[in-house]
């Protein structure tokens, strides 16, 4: 069931008196914009053809796009979608057209009952190996004592591990930050949040 506010519903009023042909033209246009991206020339051409302001056309198409997006966000099947648009002021044929377009858009987006994939993908930690090295001398300076740590870090996105050196102050700083994070996880506030989410 979606919630559309007054302004978005008012954008549909332009579409209601249209003929079925024009209406389905707008709907397919909205669905194509979802798949291929918005093409503003379509707005100006349609505005010229129907002699209406470009803004009304843009609002109408974008409101249709919003309808389809909300449908797939809530993982609605085609029947659920047609049930939810009943209380919008479309007539029977327009509802059928909308439902038909929604069905094709589901196929196009490749998801039938699955929710849309999350747009945020985080890299996960896989493995870390370390080695403590002390540089004693080099060609440039014959007497030194430089400790550092060689780190081999493997993350979930790359198949090759990364290598880097860390000097001791940076390493201490990083461990301090990680200890703070661990302390935060055990704090009262975070524990309360976990309880509520569970």
């Amino acid at each position: 069931m979606f919630m559309l506010d007054e302004r978005q519903i008012s954008h549909f009023t332009f579409l209601l008196p249209l003929s079925n042909e024009d209406f389905s033209g707008f709907c397919t246009q909205a669905q194509q914009f979802l798949v291929n991206g918005i093409n503003p020339k379509v707005y100006s051409k349609a505005a010229a053809k129907l002699s209406i302001s470009e803004e009304t056309i843009r609002n109408a198409i974008e409101a249709l796009m919003l309808l389809f997006i909300k449908g797939s966000e809530n993982a609605m099947s085609v029947d659920e979608f047609s049930n939810s648009i009943i209380n919008l002021s479309f007539n029977e044929e327009q509802r059928q057209i909308l439902t038909g377009i929604y069905a094709t858009s589901l196929e196009a987006l490749g998801s039938s009952q699955q929710p849309t994939r999350s747009l945020l993908t985080f890299r996960h930690f896989v493995n870390l190996e370390w080695r403590l090295e002390v540089q004693l001398c080099s060609r440039a300076l014959r007497n030194q004592l430089t400790p550092r740590v060689l780190i081999k870090l493997q993350l979930s996105d790359a198949d090759k591990p990364r290598f880097f050196h860390v000097d001791i102050p940076t390493l201490l700083h990083v461990t301090e930050l990680l200890e703070e994070a661990v302390k935060e996880i055990r704090s009262q506030h975070v524990r309360r949040v976990f309880r509520y989410i569970k």
Binding site: E129, R131, L136, R142, K152, P161, F163
Partner: protein
């Protein structure tokens, strides 16, 4: 509770849970089992038949066998990692609830194999590249077209090194150098070797 063989950290829960299962063995069977697992670690091989036979001997089911192998693997490798002496290991295992004879059996096998285990872990340490082999050749370059015949033959040293990088790929590095460069390189490497030996 901080344990030395866990690197001064708490002992993991699953290790504690396994102690009850390990205590069901007799101490002689325990020694045989630990020896089998250590052999498996050292040779990096997995002798499934022997393990299956042993499991049916002591009436362990498959899950128990796998978890006991994992626990012994963990104990032995982290004890080697943190260079824990076998008395300390025996004490700590008894604190965890392993009976005295079992702990002593495990520690005996551990101390017998400790140098070989250390060697194995040292080879598994992180290293960027390793040198496999090196070869050298001295070439004598005769005067070429455009050089005066009096400049004579010029000796050069050609060195080829075979390196192995982390993905176990073999790289070959070839280089040529003049006599002075070769002498300087040898001198510098000698100095580096002296530095390394002074640290030891």
């Amino acid at each position: 509770m901080r344990f030395r063989f866990c690197g001064d950290l708490d002992c993991p829960d699953w290790v504690l849970a396994e102690m009850a299962i390990l205590s069901k063995l007799t101490s002689i069977k325990m020694r045989i089992f630990v020896a089998m697992v250590v052999k498996q670690i050292l040779e990096q091989s997995s002798d499934d038949d022997k393990i299956a036979q042993f499991a049916s001997d002591v009436k362990f089911d498959v899950k128990d066998v796998h978890s006991s192998i994992a626990v012994i693997h963990f104990i032995v490798s982290s004890a080697t990692k943190h260079t824990v002496s076998s008395d300390v290991l025996s004490n700590e295992l008894q604190q965890l609830g392993l009976p005295k004879e079992h702990a002593q059996a495990l520690c005996k096998v551990y101390s017998d194999n400790s140098s070989r285990l250390e060697e194995l872990l040292r080879n598994q340490s992180l290293r960027l590249t390793r040198m496999e082999s090196s070869q050298w050749k001295v070439n004598l370059l005769l005067p070429a077209d455009g050089q005066t015949p009096e400049s004579g033959a010029v000796p050069t040293v050609e060195i080829q090194m075979k390196l192995r990088d982390l993905e176990n790929k073999s790289n070959s590095v070839k280089m040529t150098m003049s006599v002075e460069q070769c002498i300087t390189l040898r001198h510098e490497l000698q100095k580096a070797l002296e530095m390394m030996e002074s640290v030891q």
